[in-house]
């Protein structure tokens, strides 16, 4: 009994001592820890800016939506004393049945889909098979790769098919639980407090319902995750782009800019270019949270988020729609592969419409369709709908390039306004090793020779109007027979670059390429060959090595239209805040002023006017009642695998015609132009046949519906 009493005293002293140690000596530490438990600084996400067209019509907006996620560390642990009960799995099953994944096949599909994305195809299959579920596989065509089958055959694209688990049939609840468990184990290795999304695209009412029912599920979180909605889908997808999770390889860069890696960011189009502005700045607030992570109250000051800016575009929805439809029907009619049409205000560089076809539905990316559905379809489309051909495709500009050559020739004094050059049929460049053997000479024809027409002596205005090639061959490369000295490679390259070729135009879209302006030096480096007069001839008519993006051709046209100012094209008109106040107004950006003597550009403009308005002009079909239009057609020959004719070792068809891209550039009104348009159809045939009707339709709409006279 004495021992027992002694025991009581000792035990009492030990416990009180321990209490004293914890509560008094180390009390401050634990108080900090306790505050850390309950106080959390939360990011208040700023709603992303909305995109409007020039007239205030909404093009992209945020649809409120919620996602359901599980926080790994808040799931019940598998208790060691109950080895035959899977506490974690049971809780996951409860959450899944709460959201009806067991009864609604659509939801079951969606959960599986998200798990598929989270885990990837290998781990997805592994998660199911290790738990004893049968996995069906489907074969999908993979990415195409160019493979050389034999040395004497051209490289052929070969698709590399692979198998993916079939996710098109709804899985039973236990299988879904298994997948979620796997995904959670995966995440737990990283950060156990980071929620794993299991279902998204939930409407507000449903989300409220779930949050009431989820009271007993500490791991379940219902987070707002607005979906970006593109109202006009395909019509604006290349302009607006789309959003998605931050790509792994750019993670560092985004973290440096203050991004949270769970955020979605713009990956292409304006969504990318104006990512920072449209995102705004998240705010912060300190909240007291209970163990379920529910906010009990807000403590202290709230730092309000800075709302993302709205974009107002220069583009007019009505014009864009007409452009899109007109180009679409031209492509279908010609059975062409793709095409571009762009309209710009030549006085300030404002882009009035921009269409690249084929297009795609950018909502597909916002709503995260899985890889073997719409997304795969877009990926596997040989016409590459994701590519914006307006800025990412490079093609020989064809006869539209004669705008550059004629300006250069006048400015450099190679020709005067009245200088005439004789078109008396094809001209020949003799082979330097066999100067007397005409059969070895290189023959250069003008398009009209095919129809048995020669144009005779013509000046620069007539040459532009008739699109005579002989004139430009000689202006570009000189003509030994008449001792006529042409511009030569260096001057042509110089003027091409002055007009904006060879470098990105600086439009506010990502992915723009510079395209190639060939020079003698380039050719030597690339082919180890000297620049020849023939190369100059080809370049002078926009063929050969010369390449341009449709947008560069448009900038060139606008420069001619406005008399010599190169403007940087801009899609965005204004940035506005949530109240509609203008944050950044439109200011035209002048890239350069061309060094021109007065009157030079007038002659080029005159040539383009005659092309439309003279009786024998090449673009007379683009005339519009009441508006004076000026234009220039282009038919740029090309050769590719599709058209290759092994018998002729070239792309010539039976009638010795090469396939060609159709170009047409135009501006109007002739005096004081308001709009310049470029239309390009890949493999579209004659510019005058395919591209003119599209442009004409656009100009008619502009002048009759949008800005009626």
């Amino acid at each position: 009994m004495v021992v027992f009493r002694l025991g009581l005293v000792i035990a009492f002293c030990v416990i009180v001592g321990r209490l004293f140690q914890l509560q008094v000596i180390r009390g401050a530490d634990f108080q900090t820890k306790s505050s850390g438990n309950r106080l959390k600084t939360l990011e208040v996400v700023a709603p992303r800016g909305v995109v409007y067209d020039r007239n205030g019509t909404i093009l992209a907006r945020n649809k409120p939506s919620f996602e359901i996620a599980l926080v790994p560390e808040d799931l019940p642990e598998d208790k060691p004393e109950t080895p035959d009960i899977d506490e974690e799995g049971d809780e996951i099953a409860r959450v899944l049945s709460l959201v009806h994944a067991d009864t609604d096949p659509k939801i079951a599909l969606r959960v599986a889909e998200i798990m598929f994305r989270t885990l990837g195809r290998f781990d997805y299959a592994k998660a199911l098979t290790t738990a004893g579920f049968k996995v069906d596989f489907v074969t999908v065509p993979g990415e195409e790769k160019e493979i050389i089958m034999a040395t004497d055959l051209p490289a052929a694209p070969v698709s590399m098919p692979f198998t993916v688990p079939d996710i098109s049939t709804p899985l039973p609840l236990p299988a879904l639980v298994q997948l979620v468990k796997f995904a959670i184990d995966f995440k737990r290795q990283g950060s156990a407090s980071e929620a794993v999304s299991i279902l998204d695209s939930i409407e507000r009412i449903k989300a409220l319902e779930f949050s009431e029912e989820s009271y007993h599920m500490p791991a379940m979180r219902i987070n707002p995750s607005p979906i970006r909605q593109y109202v006009y889908a395909n019509m604006f997808s290349h302009v607006l782009g789309f959003m998605g999770p931050i790509p792994a390889e750019q993670a560092d860069q985004y973290t440096k800019r203050g991004y949270n890696l769970n955020e979605k960011v713009g990956l292409s189009g304006l969504e990318y270019s104006y990512q920072d502005q449209m995102r705004g700045l998240p705010g912060y607030k300190t909240v007291e949270r209970d163990i379920l992570g529910r906010e009990v109250r807000t403590i202290g000051q709230v730092q309000e988020p800075i709302l993302g800016s709205n974009l107002v575009l220069n583009i007019d929805l009505r014009l864009q729609r007409v452009m899109s439809d007109a180009l679409q029907s031209a492509i279908v009619q010609q059975k062409a592969r793709w095409g571009v049409t762009i309209a710009m205000n030549p006085q300030n560089g404002a882009i009035l419409g921009l269409v690249s076809q084929p297009s795609f539905d950018n909502n597909v990316f916002a709503e995260r369709l899985t890889e073997n559905e719409g997304y795969q379809q877009i990926q596997n489309d040989k016409r590459r709908p994701l590519l914006n051909y307006a800025i990412g495709g490079q093609y020989p500009p064809g006869s539209t390039f004669k705008m550059v050559i004629s300006t250069a020739a006048l400015a450099e004094g190679v020709v005067g306004p009245d200088t005439t050059i004789m078109d008396a049929g094809p001209i020949y460049l003799v082979n330097q090793f066999f100067p007397n053997d005409l059969s070895q000479a290189q023959k250069f024809v003008s398009w009209n020779h095919r129809y048995g027409i020669v144009h005779g002596p013509i000046n620069v205005v007539q040459a532009l109007s008739l699109s005579n090639d002989i004139f430009f061959y000689e202006v570009g490369g000189g003509y030994p027979v008449t001792k006529f000295r042409g511009l030569g490679s260096a001057a042509m390259a110089k003027w091409a670059e002055l007009f904006g070729y060879g470098a990105p135009t600086g439009i506010d879209l990502p992915g723009e390429i510079g395209a190639l302006v060939p020079t003698a030096q380039w050719k030597r480096q690339r082919y180890a060959e000297s620049w020849t007069t023939g190369d100059s001839y080809n370049m002078a008519i926009g063929q050969g090595y010369m390449l341009a993006t449709p947008l560069q051709v448009l900038v060139n046209t606008a420069t001619v239209a406005n008399g010599g100012t190169v403007y940087q094209p801009q899609i965005v008109y204004q940035l506005t805040d949530a109240q509609g106040h203008v944050q950044r107004d439109f200011t035209p950006k002048v890239v350069r002023q061309l060094p021109l003597q007065p009157g030079v550009m007038d002659l080029v403009r005159k040539g383009m006017w005659e092309a439309v308005n003279a009786p024998d002009g090449t673009a007379i079909t683009s005339k519009i009642d009441g508006i004076e239009v000026a234009g220039k057609t282009g038919t740029a020959e090309f050769c590719d695998k599709e058209h290759y004719n092994p018998k002729k070792l070239d792309c010539l068809d039976d009638k010795d015609f090469r396939p060609s891209h159709a170009w047409y550039v135009a501006f109007a009104p002739y005096e004081n132009p308001e709009i310049a348009v470029v239309t390009f159809v890949f493999d579209g045939g004659e510019g005058s046949l395919t591209a003119i009707p599209v442009t004409k339709k656009i100009l008619e709409t502009y002048f009759k519906e949008i800005h009626p006279r």
Binding site: M1, V3, F4, R5, G7, L8, A11, F12, V14, I15, V16, R18, L19, F20, L22, Q23, V24, R26, G27, D29, F30, Q31, K33, S34, S35, N37, R38, E73, E77, K79, P80, E81, T82, P83, D84, I85, A192, Y215, E288, R289, D290, I291, L292, V296
Partner: protein, 365 residues
């Protein structure tokens, strides 16, 4: 049988200490549960349990404990049979087979068994008091204790098995055994410890390891860690009743029973926690006094047994709250929420009261 005179010796200080603890218990259960929808009526339930416990206390106090002697052996046999029945027909819940399904109601025989084992061991050790110096009688005592112990350990219910062992051990020691016998038992416990080490059921071993090296069991140690944070943030006077953030925001799990001491420490501080401890140890002290005054060995051992139970549960529960002991499901006597544990504790106090009310050591009628 009823004698008005016996109330003269009713231990009022003990009774009042128990009442105060129960009162604090109800208050703390309220603070721990009022903002949890499913548990918000727990404090009223606890109040009802207190009333039931008081009734049991008075009823047992009135009853002459000496009549229990004749119930002890048959009750023990019934208890063993019940334990065996649990082993064979018992209901499994969260992995343990501890319950008997009696017409839809789950009954856990071990909870009442704690007190039964006190009464039975007290009976055995007092009945054969003269023979205990013989090894055989001691061994029989150990076997009688060992049978229920084994059945409980098998359920598995490690905490309860330890409780039984502690009560039995204390009673045997207090009943008076020779020092060489203690030495022999100590010698016997060494191989037993090794045996336990190899045979300890998985989860028990894990809990011990968790306690010994908490860093390896970060996730599993979460509850203990939160309890420690709650206790530590209390300081001298606590955050105030109903103001403990660890408690109110539910960072403490099973806060109304297993971790009620953390709630007290957080909200009432060192002062409040020490008051609770003083009350508990005061109760034990009074029980030992009763043991000293008891008129016979049976009463003496019963009082010691009750003190031992309260002592063991207090040490283990508080030790768990303060991260000094591994996690077991043992509750804090009189304070933790729970009808069966509260009523049986009050019942045990009633037993002790019955002993002291009839001690008549100095008094002559």
């Amino acid at each position: 049988m009823y004698d008005r005179q016996v109330w003269r010796y009713f231990d009022w200080p003990l009774f009042i200490a128990v009442l105060i603890l129960c009162g604090i218990g109800v208050g703390m259960v309220y603070s721990a549960t009022y903002n949890t929808p499913d548990l918000s009526d727990y404090w009223t339930r606890q109040l009802i349990f207190v009333a039931m416990g008081l009734a049991a206390l008075i009823a047992i106090a009135v009853f002459d404990y000496r009549h229990l002697e004749m119930f002890a052996p048959p009750a023990f046999v019934v208890f063993i049979l019940l334990l065996a029945a649990v082993d064979v027909f018992g209901t499994v819940q969260s992995g343990s087979q501890r319950w008997l399904n009696v017409g839809g109601v789950l009954v856990q025989p071990t909870e009442a068994g704690k007190f039964l084992i006190i009464i039975f061991m007290a009976w055995y050790l007092s009945w054969y008091q003269e023979y205990l110096h013989r090894l055989s009688y001691l061994v029989v005592a150990l076997i009688l204790l060992g049978v229920p112990l084994y059945l409980i350990y098998k359920q598995p219910n490690f905490g309860m098995a330890l409780t039984f062992a502690f009560i039995g051990g204390t009673l045997i020691l207090v009943a008076g055994i020779r020092f060489w016998q203690i030495g022999l038992m100590a010698a016997g416990s060494i191989p037993a410890a090794f045996f336990l080490r190899t045979k300890l059921q998985g989860y028990m071993l894990e809990r011990f390891q968790m306690f010994l090296s908490p860093k390896d069991f970060k996730a599993a140690n979460w509850n203990v860690d939160q309890a420690l944070t709650a206790v530590g943030s209390g300081g001298w006077f606590g955050n105030g009743w109903g103001q403990g953030s660890q408690n109110q925001l539910h960072f403490l799990r099973v806060r109304q029973s297993d971790f009620i001491f953390s709630v007290i420490s957080e909200e009432l501080g060192l002062v409040g926690a020490v008051i609770i401890l003083i009350l508990l140890f005061f109760i034990m002290w009074r029980l030992l006094r009763i043991a000293d005054l008891a008129r016979d060995q049976f009463g003496r051992l019963m009082a010691v047994g009750v003190a031992a139970i309260i002592f063991f549960q207090t040490i283990v529960n508080v030790g768990m709250n303060l991260s000094m002991m591994p996690v077991t499901g043992l509750t804090l006597p009189f304070v933790s929420y729970g009808g069966s544990s509260l009523v049986s504790m009050m019942f045990a106090i009633g037993l002790a009261q019955s002993v002291i009310m009839r001690h008549r050591k100095i008094e002559f009628q």
